[in-house]
């Protein structure tokens, strides 16, 4: 049987062959990312037919008559990473707070693992780990004492708290009060608190907010690791590249309305966004530029130093290369950039992040 998988790192589509039930090691030809692929038989696949872990139906919430969230509906499947995007004030945090029962909604239905958040609040919340945008702790207590407290609430063990403190690199600050922690340390402790007790669903609101690049990378890697373990992750972030890298699907909210929900690939198809070819040449001339511009399917041609940036669909790639070669161009390097989430976001919201 043949299956197509998407590289979690570069989103490259890889088609591989194998037998039912076989587990194969694969390496992405584009970025060399390594991983394992299981060829599931039909029965297993049917058994895993994903039941939504978070289900939102017709959610509406208004503040002083202004609808912060207006009749939105979506669901998140088991094991999925769902990126949630929107400009400031679009309704992201209101949606997250509604899911967690932090605010009273005006109408709609929210279910977490089939438990209604308002009718079976405790049962629903047992399934969720949450990292708020503004991560805060009890500043007079140490990081470990804070985790012990949350562990008691979640029914987790003290051993797990100690392991998490070590895992997130906070082991050297065991006796330090959280009030003396740096922003990055607080953020890491926030992530540790969210995954404490191994909840099957994680809701992360701006998890990389205020972190340095290494902190951002650590959070990103953690999200990938949790995804591998089958954890469902709902993540909201302003860093679109980060969302694009880790998400299976994204939802875009604008002025309280959900304007898009799908994979980045599907959304770029819907919007007819084209990839950008970058051709690096030894020599560049007006003839080469004109030869590319004369191709009907090419939308845009820009030249910078010895590189030509060409906006066209994948099918036109060959034509472009041929035209450059015919015009006397000597190609050194060729790269293709897929449409970015930022382009998609801009098209849906008309806004910069």
């Amino acid at each position: 049987m043949k299956i197509t998988v998407i590289c979690p790192n570069c989103k490259n589509q890889i088609t591989i062959e194998g037998e039912e039930g076989e587990v194969k090691d694969i390496t992405c030809p584009q970025c060399n990312e390594k991983g394992k692929v299981t060829f599931k038989d039909k029965k297993t696949e049917e058994a895993e037919i994903k039941s939504p872990t978070i289900e939102i139906k017709n959610l509406t919430k208004a503040y002083n008559g202004t609808k912060a969230v207006n009749n939105i509906s979506f669901s998140i499947e088991k094991g999925e990473v769902f990126g949630f995007l929107g400009p400031n004030g679009a309704g992201k945090t209101t949606t997250i707070k509604s899911i967690l029962g932090l605010i009273k909604i005006d109408s709609g239905e929210i279910k977490i693992n089939n438990f209604d958040i308002h009718l079976l609040e405790k049962e629903a919340k047992k399934n969720v780990g949450y990292m708020p945008e503004k991560v805060a702790f009890y500043n007079n207590l140490t990081g470990l004492q804070n985790l012990y407290f949350y562990a008691e609430m979640k029914g987790a063990s003290r051993e797990e708290c100690k392991n998490l403190i070590e895992e997130f690199g906070l082991g050297d600050s065991t006796n330090k009060k959280v009030g003396k922690y740096s922003k990055g340390m607080v953020q890491r402790l926030g992530m540790a608190r969210a995954i404490l007790g191994n909840p099957p669903i994680l809701i992360l609101d701006e998890p990389s907010s205020g972190l340095d690049p290494s902190g951002v990378l650590q959070i990103k890697n953690k999200i990938r690791e949790l995804k591998q373990k089958g954890i469902t992750i709902f993540v909201s972030s302003h860093i679109l590249s980060e969302i694009q890298e880790v998400s299976d699907r994204v939802g875009i909210i604008n002025r309280g309305t959900l304007v898009a929900k799908d994979s980045v690939y599907a959304l770029s198809k819907k919007l007819n966004l084209k990839p950008r070819m970058i051709v690096e040449l030894k020599n560049i001339s007006k003839d080469i530029e004109n030869a590319v511009k004369n191709i009907k399917q090419v939308d845009e041609v820009k030249i910078h130093e010895n590189k030509i940036f060409i906006l066209c669909d994948s099918k036109t790639k060959a034509k472009v290369i041929l035209a450059i070669a015919k015009a006397g161009g000597n190609i050194i390097n060729l790269t293709t950039l897929e449409p970015t989430l930022e382009e998609i976001f801009m098209r849906y919201t008309g806004d910069a992040v």
Binding site: G101, E121, M153
Partner: protein, 278 residues
């Protein structure tokens, strides 16, 4: 499970507050002042005087010192956590808002009770060693009533913390409550007595005004927890035999009034917190 969660929250409140420098300073000051008041009250009598003799001085300390400690402990218990951001993480856990309110109240109540027991306990032991035949039963009643009125102000502080939208507003309101029940209340009462003609002034400046002590004046004592506390002390600790009180103003009713003052703000606080958007 519900008891475990309430207990865990209470334990966290205790751990958090015993590390709070402000609370430590206030508690030590309270203990020192209690000793000073109990000793100062005895200077005139040439040594440490009987416990019941110092109770009046100590209850003044309760009025001004313990009220402010209780209000300062509780005014930011809920709104402070909401503003700081830790409340959203707490509510996202499998915890009910009622458990949060009860856990916090019990934790803060334990801190306050400990402060009272240390302050009055140390004074009691010192005086007990100095004065023969101390009536400890009455002293324990005094401590019990003091804990109760402390919890009442804790409950009022929790109400402000749940009802108001900003920590700064809750703090301002707590300060107002303090002044209302300690100073302004007496002024209101005096004004009402004058307006209703229950204080009669003589045209002769050498003759003191005559106070009629109407019944409603005693009923007003139920409306101020500090006055109700004063009533408990008067009836049970000082054993006042003043026979001019109306029938409804008695030991049981002032105790009931204080219990209402304890539970009513807590119930309203829970209702406000339950409906609050975090």
């Amino acid at each position: 499970m519900i008891q475990n969660i309430i207990f865990s929250i209470a334990k966290k409140e205790i751990m958090d507050n015993i590390r709070n420098k402000w609370i430590i300073v206030m508690s030590i000051s309270f203990a020192v002042l209690t000793l000073l008041v109990s000793y100062a009250g005895s200077i005139g009598s040439g040594g440490w005087q009987d416990l019941s003799g110092t109770v009046e001085g100590m209850s003044v300390l309760v009025n001004y010192f313990l009220t402010i400690i209780a209000l300062m402990l509780s005014y930011s218990a809920i709104i402070g956590e909401i503003e700081r951001g830790s409340m959203s993480a707490l509510i996202s856990l499998p915890v009910k808002r009622l458990e949060i309110i009860l856990g916090k109240f019990l934790g803060l109540g334990a801190v306050l009770t400990f402060t009272i027991l240390v302050g009055f306990g140390v004074a009691g032991i010192v005086i007990g060693t100095m004065v023969p035949n101390v009536d400890y039963w009455r002293y324990l009643l005094f401590i019990g009533a003091t804990v109760l009125v402390g919890l009442v102000f804790l409950s009022i502080g929790m109400l402000l913390s749940c009802l108001l939208k900003k920590r700064s507003t809750a703090m301002g309101s707590a300060i107002f409550v303090f002044f209302l029940f300690t100073i302004i209340w007496g002024l209101i009462l005096a004004a009402l007595l004058i307006v209703t003609g229950n204080i009669q002034f003589s045209s002769d400046p050498n003759v003191a005004p005559v106070l009629k002590n109407p019944d409603w004046q005693y009923a007003m004592n139920f409306l101020n927890p500090l006055s109700a506390y004063g009533g408990i002390i008067k009836f049970n600790v000082l054993s006042s035999t003043d026979a001019t009180y109306p029938a409804f103003y008695n030991s049981v009713n002032v105790f009931i009034a204080l219990l209402i003052w304890l539970f009513a703000p807590l119930i309203v606080a829970y209702w406000a917190f339950k409906n609050k958007d975090i």
